[in-house]
Symmetry: C2
Subunit: 218 residues, 2 copies
Amino acid sequence: MAEIPEKTVGRLSLYRRILGRLVAERRSHLHSHDLAALSGSTAAQVRRDLMTIGYQGSPARGYDVQGLIQLIDTMLDGPEVQPIGLVGVGNLGRAVITYFSGRRPNLKIVAAFDDDADKVGRHVGGCPVHRVSEVERVVREERIRIGVVAVPAEVAQKVADLLVAGGVRGILNFAPVALRVPRNVHVEDLDMTMSMEKVAYYARTGPVGDQEERRDER
Amino acid sequence: MAEIPEKTVGRLSLYRRILGRLVAERRSHLHSHDLAALSGSTAAQVRRDLMTIGYQGSPARGYDVQGLIQLIDTMLDGPEVQPIGLVGVGNLGRAVITYFSGRRPNLKIVAAFDDDADKVGRHVGGCPVHRVSEVERVVREERIRIGVVAVPAEVAQKVADLLVAGGVRGILNFAPVALRVPRNVHVEDLDMTMSMEKVAYYARTGPVGDQEERRDER
């Protein structure tokens, strides 16, 4: 399979969710400019992204919604469920567990980790909570390849090291710190404080340039 | 005040939090390469960013941690507390309220909105919950300029319209949908599903290129 560029992977994920909503609205076809408007992209960008995965619509009817969803499924998802381990069952970790519960059938948070004695041994959102000292063992035994870091910045690197030692190959990192990981591990940062501070700055001083600029960064 | 480029605003926010942790560790000075390593950036990028806000360290001792924090405060924060309104008090909205409670003294979620009868009229994380039909009135009365959209995609545009009608100038958007807003409103998207699907894709197929590529996107 040809490698898909990183930003294209993100947009395919977004397109798929938009298409899923269109299915619910019983729409069967749409054009590149429709998908562009719904995703905050351009029609040219949409066409390039879909060419990357070898999809072309018919000039008259546009893209077939169901067919396109299935192709994106094939490109983005593996044939099996990918188990996920999450470390840090505070408010954020709890919200992430609940948010992803049943959202994507192929992604499942199967184990959570925390050192709070009130949480260890219990279930949160259907997910068992283990001690942090168990990360490496459980990750290995459950063949977890995806880790979520939802702990404070001070302990995030230590937690990432444990996840990687267990065999994790991708990390969704909520801690505001640059994790040092081996080159074969992919890290995606989600920094809520940074995003909020950017919004606050522009709400106070006025936004940058125009909306096109923002869209290009998506 | 000169306009600060958007990506620089994000990095200044990150630098400030890193510097705050150094204060806790009683470090008084650091060099650009130290800050680069801690933030996943390069020394050249750090120097460019700090030049943008008119800061230069001493060649011998490097940057003064406390002085640099104060300068970033002046550049990023307004002189007054910026009140925030949040719509959608589900698991995610609740986590966001708790997460930001007391995190930045100048950013305060003062009003939440939801149509769940069990939530309206109560407090969540110290924050009163109003009906969604009250968004425009409360936003105007409390002079809220920052909105958080934590509702499902289907109703996100409607909610954004209400926030903008009340006077909001910046939106932190958790819904996986491209919001249409006037040009004077800044939107920052935080799409957890997209980030998780990217991590899952690369955990399965192997990561893109090298870490430098990832860092440049930060």
